[in-house]
Each structure stands twice: as C-alpha cells, then as structure tokens.
C-alpha cells in the first residue's frame, strides 16, 4: 500500500524459453501487500508462464526473484507454498469425489495427538473460512462434483487461504462463470486484498480486471508492455495489449 516500501514479491529480468519460443523476455513484476496486480495480455503473451514461475512450477532460465527484498529460489510448488505463495490454476486441482472440507484441507489435514483426523475441527474452520470470504456453498459436506463452476472456484480460493499465504495467484478465475458467480469471485478478491494479501490476477476480461485491480501490468510477446493504474481507461490498456502504440522489439 505504501510506495517505496519493499515489495512482497519482486521479479527482475525473468526470461524463459521453450526451445525457439521466447515465452518470457526480461520481465519485471512487483507485488506489494494489500495490492491486486492484474496480468493481462493476448493468448501466448506469457501470462500463465509467469504465473507458473511465481508458483514454483516452472524454473526461469535467467532472472532474479526476491521476496521481502531477499533473493529466493522457487524450485518447486511446495517450496513456493512454504514461502507463502498460493496458486489457483485454471484446472483448480480439486478432487471431485471429496467433500468441500476435504478439498479445502487437501494435503494439509489436521490430526490430533493420536494421529486421527480432526474432522469436526476442520469443518468448523472451513465454515468460518467460507463465511469470512462470503462464499456461498450450500453444504460443506457436498462432494465437489455437485457444485457449480463458481462454487468450485470459491472452494479453490478458500483452499489457498488455509496455509496463511501472503501472495495468491489466480489464473483466469472468472472464465466461463455466470455474472452472479463472477460477482462472488470478484468480491472474494476484494476480501483477499482486504486481508492484506498480495493478489496476482490473470484474466482476459478487462471489465473484471479493471473492477478490482490496483495496477494492471500488460504482457506482449513475453515482454512488459506497459503498467497502468487500475482506473486507467479500457482503450489505453487495450492499445498496450494489441500493440497499437509502439511495438517493442
């Protein structure tokens, strides 16, 4: 929130090639606490690659990643998780046959001293968590396959909050959702920001992006192609996405 303060996460000159494909070329990105940074760009602009680098899924070929001003490496998703980066990718990575509670605590189940699952405790926490995020899921004992797309997205977002993360990466959270569910997801993003987290939001929908983002970073052909305030006009951002301004080579 305060400019000049050390960013929570800083990427410097990140590059990543897949053979002859330049996915990322010298990309810079800063994310502060209490800030929603949107990553926008055309298909293949490098948004998802950058998200995967931040999530520890992909390793950059070169560049520096800093958290709180100290250089870090993110060799795996679990390493990124330990450093406080939680991600929700488009496939959501939830288990269809498990109920909401089990999905929220997946891989982080709570045990008592005898080594038994503390189901009651986990249910209570899930219920409180969903209420904090104003998530509307009819029953936390419903198996995931019975939930709508928006409800699944909400469960996936709730799941990220369990490990007390500091940065949440959301890849296309509103794609293919109804307006009511989009409204819910956007409200959840505002809540995450209100909880003091840094949020990286990747989306194609400029309307959704401009509704919640503090800052919009445009990627084009794997390069930074402009940084805008969240209240910048639709046309300005669109021009940077399509390269209607000056092409950078």
């Amino acid at each position: 929130m305060t400019p000049g303060r050390t960013p929570l996460l800083a990427l410097r000159q990140i590059s990543k090639n897949f053979g002859a494909v330049e996915a990322l070329v010298g990309v810079d990105l800063d994310v502060h606490a209490h800030e929603v940074v949107a990553l926008v760009g055309d298909n293949g602009a490098g948004k998802s690659t950058l998200a995967k680098v931040i999530a520890g899924v992909l390793q950059p070929d070169s560049g520096l990643i800093e958290m709180d001003g100290a250089p870090v490496t993110l060799p795996s998703a679990s390493a990124a998780n330990r450093l406080g980066v939680a991600s929700v990718f488009q496939d959501l990575a939830l288990c269809e046959n498990l109920d909401v509670t089990a999905n929220v605590f997946l891989g982080r189940e709570m045990y008592n001293r005898a080594g038994l699952l503390q189901e009651g405790q986990m249910e209570t926490e899930t219920r409180a968590l969903l209420r904090d995020l104003t998530v509307r899921v009819p029953s936390i004992r419903t198996p995931l396959r019975h939930l709508s797309g928006g409800q699944r997205q909400a469960v996936a977002i709730a799941r990220t909050v369990i490990g007390n993360p500091r940065i949440v990466v959301l890849d296309e959270p509103t794609a293919a959702l109804s307006v009511a569910h989009t409204a819910e997801v956007l409200t959840h993003i505002e809540r995450l920001r209100g909880m003091g987290l840094g949020v990286i939001l990747i989306s194609h929908n400029l309307n959704d992006v401009r509704a919640v983002a503090d800052r919009v970073e445009v990627l084009r052909h794997g390069r930074n192609n402009g940084s805008f305030r969240g209240d910048a006009s639709h046309e300005e951002i669109l021009a940077a996405i399509t390269g209607a301004g000056s092409p950078s080579l």
């Binding site: 929130m1 209490h34 307006v179 409204a183 956007l186 409200t187 505002e190 400029l206 503090d214 209240d231």
Partner: protein, 391 residues
C-alpha cells in the same frame, strides 16, 4: 433445565432461518450441512417454521434428484432493487414485506459503460431469482438507483457529464426490454432518503434530510413525508453546491463544487504520497482502525459537508438529518464534525436542536430504497390499472 433446552431450540431455529436467508434457498440435506445440525433436528425445525408461515417449501432438482427447496415465504410476488454506483453494483431480491431474500454485490471498473453494466444488472437479477427458487414471472417490478439526477417521468439522466458515458441512455427502457418488467429509476440519494424516512432513522419525522457521502455527495429532501424531487429530479444535489469559488472545475462544468473537495479522488489524493494506492473502503477501514492521516481526511470532509448541510437545513428546517454512505461508516469520526458545523448555526438549535444521526440501514439504505420504490410504484400501478402501461 427445560429453560436451557427451549433456548437451545430457539437458537437452532435462528440458525436455520439465518442459513436460508444467507443462501436464498436450501434443501433440507443442504441445511444440515450449512448449520451443522442433525437431519432430524432440521426436519423438525423446518416443519415448525412451515407451520408458522416463515418458510415455504417448493420442489427443486439437486444433483439430478427431486428435492424440497426451503425458502423464506414470499407469497405475493417479489421485487428487485438495483443500485449502480461508481465502482460497484448491488442487486437484491425482496418480498412485499421488504425482507431481502438474496443479495449480491458486483465490483465495477472505473467509468463503466452503460451497455455492459445494464446487461450485467439484468443477468444478476435473473441469477438471484434462480437462487431463491423463483422465476421472472414472480417479479413484479424493479427499482433502479443511479448516482446522478434522474428524471423520474422519462427515466433519462437529467444532468449531462456527471455519470460519464451514460448521457442520453434510456436506462429504464433498456432494462425493461431485457426483463419485460416495469423498471422505476431514481437518484441514489433520493432512494436513501425514501428508505430512511420510511423504515429507517427518520421514520418518526415528517421533514428530514438524507445526506449520502460516498464517491460523491448527494442529498435526499423529505418534506411532509414525501421525497421532494424538484425539476428533473435534481433536488438535493448537494455535491454541486459551490464551496470553493477558486476551486477546480467539476464534471458538471461549474467551478469548486463540493464534490471537487470531498469526492473520492479529492479525498485520496493527499494520501497518495504517504499511503499509496487506496480505495474508499481502505480509507474507511484505516480511519476506523485509528490511522491518524485517514482520520484527519475523514474529519475534514465531515466539517466541509457539515457546513453545506447546515446551510441547507437553515433553509428547509428539517427535524432530522440522516447521514449515510460509506464515509458515515466511520461513525463519530465523520459525524462529529458534521454535528459541530450544524450546531454552530444558531438558528438550528434555537427551538429544538436539529438531530444529526447515522443511517439505521447503513450502506443498505439505497438498496432498500430501490426495493421500496419498486413496491410503492407498483401499488399505484395496480390501483390505477386497467390497460394503462407503466410509465
């Protein structure tokens, strides 16, 4: 012993009602999950509530199976309230008793476009109806609030340039065409005034002022129990009273309007160097948690708004001033300076001191007003009925 058991039953009933309210409609199986109560308890409570007429049960399909959807009772039809603001839209479905059955907030981008926003408003109304298990047939009317003066008879914006991009858009007709239901439009501050004077803080008074301090400042004037709209619905446009003759040019074209001094951009600008990128919500939260800079900004805004309110009150002599909108959420931080400014006008404290209170409905006031507008407008419509179309 029996006392604690009956109070337990009472608490369980409250939990079930609260769950139904929060979700709009739930099946009994979902109710057990949502409340953590046993299936038998839920079943007993639902039967009791049915008997008391508090809930309704209607058939629904869940996961391909037939189920009984429990909703709050809404026998006589429903209305929708839609309030479009600068950065968010709120939609609610309510029944004739003003009970809100479902509600949703949608964040909006800066300078959002009328085509996209009205389209989303229509879809949200349909989605929320579905959530409470009702269909469009049951919807009687829609009340729509906009953050700009609206001519109630034509549904057109009466002042150009205040809501950028919306000039000349027949807002009511666009929504009516989408939903095939009558739509009634009014200014958001007027709706807040309607709600507060009907069911809120000013309901005991004939004459009151409602001041809404949000992205801009607006006021609703209630005289003799009716909202005074003025020519073209422009009454109470407090945000366009001149407070700084040498000030900035406002969106309306005049110089130094109140909105250029206490509108959100003007409030956040002095905080940019020290606090960075803030939203109105951040400002309110930080002021509440005791951030000195934010408190200062909010208190100064209160003094500025208070001086203008005092002048308006001197002319109209209302019994009560209700303050609503996001800034009023900070409580006495904002209200104190407003009250102080009003107190300094001796005329206002001569007979009976003018009361300055915060909105009972809080930030819900405008949404409740939209619901009331839809309900009141349709009553008139039904009485005068017979072939006459809506306005």
């Amino acid at each position: 012993m029996s006392g604690s058991q009956s109070s337990l039953r009472e608490a369980n009933r409250a939990r079930v009602v609260e769950a139904v309210k929060r979700h709009g409609g739930l099946t009994q199986v979902e109710l057990t999950g949502a409340t953590g109560l046993s299936a038998a308890t839920v079943s007993t409570i639902v039967k009791e509530l049915l008997g008391a007429g508090m809930v309704e049960v209607r058939p629904a399909v869940r996961s391909g199976r037939r189920a009984q959807l429990v909703t709050l009772a809404h026998r006589v039809g429903l209305v929708a309230g839609v309030v479009v603001g600068y950065r968010q839209m709120r939609v609610a479905i309510a029944d004739v008793t003003h009970e809100v059955l479902a509600e949703q907030t949608l964040p909006l981008p800066a300078e959002h476009r009328p085509d996209t926003s009205l389209d989303r408003a229509a879809l949200l109304v349909v989605d929320l109806l579905e959530r409470v298990g009702a269909d469009l047939e049951e919807l009687v009317a829609i009340g729509l609030g906009l953050p700009t003066p609206v001519d109630a008879s034509t549904g057109l914006l009466s002042v150009r340039g205040v809501l950028r991009g919306w000039d000349g858009v027949p807002v009511a007709q666009v929504l009516e065409k989408r939903l095939a239901r009558p739509v009634f439009v009014d200014n958001d501050a007027n709706l807040g005034a309607l709600a507060e004077s009907t069911v809120g803080a000013a309901r005991a008074y004939h004459d009151s002022l409602y001041v809404r301090v949000s992205h801009g400042v607006g006021a609703g004037v209630v005289l003799g129990g009716r909202v005074h709209r003025g020519v073209g619905g422009t009454a109470g446009e407090l945000g366009h009273v001149q407070v700084d003759p040498g000030g900035r040019i406002c969106g309306c074209g005049s110089r130094g309007c109140l909105d250029t001094v206490v509108g959100v951009p003007a409030l956040l600008e002095p905080l940019a160097t020290s606090h960075g990128n803030l939203t109105l919500r951040d400002l309110v939260q930080l002021a509440e948690t005791g951030d000195p800079g934010c408190r200062e900004i909010v208190a100064d805004a209160g003094a500025t708004v208070g001086a203008v309110v005092a002048n308006l009150a001197t002319v109209l002599s209302p019994q009560c001033v209700v303050v609503g909108g996001e800034l009023a959420e900070t409580g006495e931080i904002f209200l104190g300076p407003v009250r102080e400014a009003v107190r300094r006008r001796t005329l206002l404290s001569q007979f009976v001191p003018l009361e300055v209170v915060s909105a009972t409905l809080g930030t819900q006031a405008e949404l409740m007003g939209a619901i009331l507008l839809a309900l009141q407008s349709t009553d008139v419509f039904e009485n005068a009925d017979d072939g006459r179309g809506n306005q």
